[in-house]
Amino acid sequence: MGILRKRRGVPFARRAPTESGQDVPIHIAKMTAPHVMWWHSHVQPIIDRDPSRADNGWNWMLYVPFAELGGRVLMRKPVGYTVGLSDPESDRFVPCALVQLLGRVPALDEHDRESVFVWFLSTAPEEALTSIEDNRISKDQIPRRLGTIALDVAVTHSLNERRFGRTALYADERGGDVLLQWYRRRGMTVLPDEDKLPRGPRRLLKPSDGRYCYYTVPAAIEASKELDSLR
């Protein structure tokens, strides 16, 4: 199964669990300007009221155009995804998580291999989804495991783009040990702070400090398998 997954790729998640016990259908779409605009208008103000969140004060209106542009100039194949609830009846799409990736960076563990890098990842707090005017979602219909699903988007992209699941990220300092442990529980390895990053601007400007995490190929495949029931 691991070999097939590496060779054929894997579909993105299509369902998310809820408190009610029933799964809700989700869509993984390419991130577009209306998604980001709605997020910055409706979700980010709620995130900004919570100083304990690692994504407090983020501005996707700046990150997305810049990640696209910077990534293109450096040939890093940037791509953004939105995880959202789909409502075919009203033709509405409710963004629940945003993921901005660089599709082609040197892997942290094998510098001559290519990996995906998660530049930004954010999930909507419950309040943001239950307070949408004229499209309220009841509490027991809120999708759960959004962080895991958003991280899986990066791993799925890596598998489907022949990076074989290799995925890396930097665990925001504000998330502290809790965030680092969360990534560890998802099967990621933390790069020891004495290890060097691959060549590139990050090695100089944001060197290894014990907060870079990565998936090895076998760990990524295991993590991917765990979400198979939601694909």
Binding site: I28, L62, V73
Partner: protein, 104 residues
């Protein structure tokens, strides 16, 4: 934390002569103006921003949120397809059958 908004504002002021306090003008510069600049400038801006990655901002930028942006439509947000052979066989067969059923 990632590069703070103040670093973006300072980059827009340095390379685009934009008022660093006007966050909407900063956003506009990154969306509209920066893509038209030479790659060397973009690379320099990226360098400046990465250099300040993790910095605790020395001043606050008052966020400006767009007023009542509408919910995106599902029609313009299609589910991203997986590679053809990545789909489960049952879904593949259904997809082939529905294509065959389509009137030509």
């Amino acid at each position: 934390m990632p590069t703070p908004t103040t670093a973006f504002a300072d980059a827009a002021a340095k390379y685009g002569n934009v008022d660093a306090q006007d966050i909407e003008a900063v956003q506009n510069w990154f969306t509209e103006v920066l893509p038209t600049l030479p790659p060397e400038v973009i690379e320099q801006v990226l360098h400046d921003l990465l250099e300040r990655d993790g910095e605790i901002p020395e001043r606050a930028v008052i966020p400006v949120y767009p007023k009542r942006a509408p919910l995106p439509s599902l029609g313009s947000s299609p589910h991203v397809d997986a590679p053809f052979f990545a789909e489960p066989w049952s879904r593949l067969l259904r997809s082939i059958a529905s294509r065959l059923r389509k009137p030509r």
